[in-house]
Symmetry: C2
Subunit: 252 residues, 2 copies
DNA sequence: CGAACACTTGACAGCCCTCAACGTGAGTGG
DNA sequence: CCACTCACGTTGAGGGCTGTCAAGTGTTCG
């Protein structure tokens, strides 16, 4: 692998934020807000930490779970990128989402008790796994935890509805880039320069476009000076303009 | 000119399932499963019933809440149909969903503490309202209730992802009709003959199609003998064929 | 009865998908 | 070190689905 060192000095950084330990959560984890809740019972908080099971590493292409597997745990991405997807009967792949460090996977499995999709590592992935039955029990004692779980679930409902609109290819791509940029920035990485961990085909299947369209839109964005793209490396040159394109999609 | 009464005897029935009382939930309500949980604490169950606030009726066109309103309660539809939607900055309406009796609205508001969308009654609507802070507290004492809330939230994530695919107009319309048919059937109404409570424009905005396309697809379905449609009245003649069209969308 | 609205129908165009070919880089084996 | 292979990505040509525009019909309501 060790390539691209010239144009873009490789930063494994953007695949791993700060790391937690036995007593502290990773600060970027979606669960970290639980720790900030006031009046948190020390003993209960320890219980939550004990519940965490660090798993991995998974290597690129390895599956974390597959559609139909019995659901037992949700997981926070600690490092790397996870792609969730389904395959329809015609063999077409539909990408449901990309999950960066600090984000939660498995929330859509709670209802059916089986994972409704596949999850695959796009690069080297580390997870913090939480047994769902156990965390649910704990949530009855920790209102702050229950509240956080409700919020995480509620947030995903709205997120899923965003890309459902009938937006143009340009708008979709812009929204994708802006979303990625912001999520990376929220975790301490550069919002203007980052590496795409997913293939063009993955982006296309996520945005419901043809791979060729993804290619063409990126080329046009580059011609218009909005960004610079070299293989998987992206530098956003005019975030204002890109955000303006994405605005209607993101409801801003 | 009171017409159509002949071809389709009017049934207000499909807007109201069985009605609950102070001690029993409506059997079709999404919360009814809570009652079936084993080992349910009688006193706690009563607490849940006390928490219910019957509100309404709302008349067609009346808003239940608007985008930005402070979020305080989720609600189960007891009678009628509710449309949730947002207006983008260009003035275009995006319909997020239609909610039939027994279904829950407001779950996507938990995260932001403000309703992220508008909700309007399409006909005469009755609601069972549950204060969210109160029901969350109660859920810490009723594991079955907490579990049901988690499941309802999780289910909506998957539901939102369904129509996000790049399906044809025929597939979208078929999936819409099949979904409506099944949801009505689950509540005791005819799965093959029902009344559309929403305008063509609403269906179009929900399916991300032009109203003209909705019209054309319905006409073609009728020509092909799949269904019979007369204004807002629909009779599904070949549910097999329609379901086959909808299958890839519904992942079957 | 008139007006507003919902819905339908037709003509046309545009966006994006499909199909096809080519270019490029990474890994492999000689 | 080089040729080969394969996956990924890019680029071009053409066509189909569906949106847009426009006009017409039917219904409801004042």
């Amino acid at each position: 692998m060790a390539v691209n060192q010239v144009a873009f000095p490789r930063t494994d950084a953007h695949t791993l934020a700060d790391d937690g330990d036995a007593l502290h959560f990773c600060s970027t984890c979606a669960f970290s807000q639980v720790c900030l809740a006031e009046g948190m019972d020390k003993a209960a908080l320890t219980d939550l930490h004990v519940l965490v099971e660090h798993v991995g590493p998974f290597h690129a292409g390895e599956h974390l779970f597959r559609e139909g597997d019995p659901f037992e745990a949700i997981a926070a991405v600690r490092a790397g990128t996870v792609k969730t997807y389904v395959i329809d009967r015609e063999g077409r792949e539909h990408v449901l989402g990309f999950h960066l460090p600090g984000e939660i996977i498995g929330l859509n499995a709670i209802d059916s008790e089986h994972y409704p999709c596949n999850a695959v590592a796009l690069d080297t992935v580390m997870l913090c796994r939480f047994s769902f039955p156990k965390i649910a029990v704990l949530a009855t004692r920790l209102p702050g935890l229950q509240r956080q779980l409700f919020r995480l679930l509620s947030r995903d409902i709205g997120r899923a509805a965003l890309l459902a609109g009938d937006w143009s290819a340009d708008q979709r791509m812009a929204a994708f880039l802006v979303g990625l940029s912001r999520r990376l920035a929220a975790r301490g990485f550069s919002p203007s320069r980052f590496q795409l961990t997913m293939a063009r085909t993955d982006i296309a299947n996520y945005l419901r476009l043809a791979p060729e369209t993804v290619s063409r839109v990126l080329r046009r964005f580059q011609q218009d000076g909005l960004l610079r793209v070299d293989r998987r490396e992206v530098e956003l040159l005019d975030r204002e303009a890109i955000a303006a394109l994405a605005a209607p999609v993101l409801r801003e």
